[in-house]
């Protein structure tokens, strides 16, 4: 199987709660750092991919899209694209890789900016679903309009029902689930950019207030302002850059179920479709993975991804993470080594790719793993999901 797409550089702005910088400044910071990291100049960039793009509304969930970036940086492009409807928060990475595989682009700048923290400083309800989807009290969204009439003001209520199902079917406990939050916090302590770095105990977790049972406050990620950028390069062009690139070994984007939070599997969402799709495209196996950067918009999603991706048996996630040793940086399957979104900040997707590359390139500082040649990234919840298997390149 031909594999032609490499990550040649990454960049990230400051990650703050909130940042005093504008969305534009954060975006320029991240993109210029990534381009420079790849040993390229802006003139080399001929593609831009973003998820979800600004969708003509400039919402703090994604204030700058591909066209905004094109104008901001004065780019001369062969292709650009964005939009919410794709395989989750790393759809941009997948789209960019496809643009390269299709022979359209040489170097694609993939980016995501988010300013939910500063938006919530002005209006605490800025990110509630009703606020986003409803006009004059009527929700016209084909997706959310099925849920918001029943008081579903946040995805947490839908995700909480997946957690409840896991508790019921597999015997998952709060003490076990809490290890996701604890592990992220312990990793954040070694990440200078992480939002929350003070130690968290299991008691702290269990005492945190219930948001939507069985999910507590510390099961929910934390809004921030940040921008993250990734440079994808075609195999022959990747040789231009100064460092060994990271190969995109395989991508998972499969989806066999309805695009819906309540019609899909309540125990494994779309994650098993995605995982099956990804593993079918590589000879590598789950035990080749040195670390996993798994979506933790809500803690249970990380656990569901672990099971779906075969990092532990289906239904065994709770027992696998119990005590936290296996998923610590010194464990057999380190997860979310930069603190994830639970403690690092809700960079929402590309943050996982950024951290995976830092680990592979040995640039993760105090949180650097002893060995990291292969990293697994997966992002999304409910019907949204995509994954990528990344490994040290061999050009």
């Amino acid at each position: 199987m031909k594999k032609n797409v490499y990550i040649t550089g990454v960049g990230q702005s400051e990650v703050k709660r909130p940042s005093l910088k504008s969305a534009e400044e954060l975006t320029v910071d991240a993109c210029l750092e990534a381009v420079s990291d790849a040993g390229l100049s802006l003139a080399d960039i001929d593609g831009v991919a973003c998820w979800p793009g600004d969708n003509n509304n400039g919402a703090p969930f994604s204030p700058i899209g591909p066209v905004g970036l094109k104008t901001l940086l004065g780019l001369d492009l062969k292709w650009f694209g964005g939009g919410y409807e794709g395989p989750g928060p790393i759809a941009s990475l997948i789209n960019g890789a496809m643009a390269i595989e299709a022979g359209i682009c040489r170097h694609v700048l993939v980016f995501r900016t988010i300013t939910e923290s500063s938006a919530r400083q002005k209006d605490k309800t800025a990110s509630t679903l009703g606020k986003l989807g409803a006009k004059n009290g009527r929700d016209r969204s084909n997706l959310w309009g099925n849920y918001t009439p029943f008081g579903v003001h946040s995805a947490v209520m839908l995700v909480a029902m997946y957690a409840q199902k896991h508790f019921h079917k597999y015997g998952l406990t709060s003490e076990q689930l809490g290890q996701i939050a604890l592990t992220c916090r312990a990793n954040a302590a070694e990440n200078p950019k992480a939002i929350y770095r003070s130690p968290m105990s299991l008691d702290n977790y269990l005492e945190s207030r219930m948001i939507s049972s069985p999910l507590r406050m510390f099961d929910c990620d934390i809004h921030c302002d940040a921008s993250t950028a990734i440079i994808l390069s075609r195999k022959d062009c990747a040789k231009d850059s100064s460092r060994d690139p990271v190969l995109i070994e395989a991508i998972g984007a499969g989806n066999s179920q309805p695009w819906s939070w309540d019609q899909i599997s309540l125990t494994h969402m779309v994650a098993r479709d995605v995982a099956q799709d990804m593993w079918s495209k590589t000879d590598l196996k789950p035990n080749d993975v040195d670390c996993a950067q798994l979506y933790d918009g809500f803690s249970i999603l990380t656990l569901i991804w672990m099971e779906a991706l075969g990092l532990c048996e289906i239904g065994e996630g709770g027992r696998f993470i119990e005590g936290g040793k296996r998923i610590a940086r010194t464990g057999e399957m380190p997860i979310n080594t930069n603190g994830g979104q639970l403690s690092g900040g809700r960079t929402h997707g590309l943050g996982y790719v950024h951290e995976a590359c830092q680990q592979i390139w040995g640039r993760a500082g105090a949180r650097q793993l002893k060995t990291c040649n292969t990293a697994l990234v997966a992002a999304g919840g409910g019907p949204l999901g995509g994954s990528a298997l990344l490994r040290r390149g061999d050009i």
């Binding site: 309800t125 509630t128 009703g130 989807g133 409803a134 009290g137 009527r138 929700d139 016209r140 084909n142 309009g145 099925n146 849920y147 918001t148 009439p149 029943f150 008081g151 579903v152 003001h153 946040s154 947490v156 209520m157 839908l158 909480a160 029902m161 997946y162 957690a163 409840q164 199902k165 019921h168 207030r209 219930m210 948001i211 939507s212 049972s213 069985p214 999910l215 819906s260 939070w261 309540d262 019609q263 309540l266």
Partner: protein
Amino acid sequence: MTQILPEITNINAAFWQGGKNGELFISQCDDCEFFIHPPSAFCVKCHSRNVSAQAVSGDGTVSSFSVNFQKWLPELETPYVVAIVELKEQENLRFVTNIIGCDPNSVRIGTPVEVTFENHEDVWLPLFRPKEFGAET
């Protein structure tokens, strides 16, 4: 604006407004009898275009649930139960709703429930209450 209502369309009107006459309508294939939700114009099972809204029993069980405690909007009254209810007519025929008429902490996965409707403007929200708490069974 605590109560958000759906936009009524030709396709979804029966589902959101059937409660006016006390009935829950679900899209069903006229050819293979497969139920489809959310409301649709196409049978994903046999690919028939003969799909129409049909009244169902309104009985089901709680597939999963969450008790919401967070005040997402200042005027929101908490706690309340968000649930996914599976109707007895077909495996995995289910949708998001609320469980009312009981102590939120008494709801369990598998609890038998029956539909009840709550009217807002031109919408009758299909909500559910535990069967053992219902007036009739």
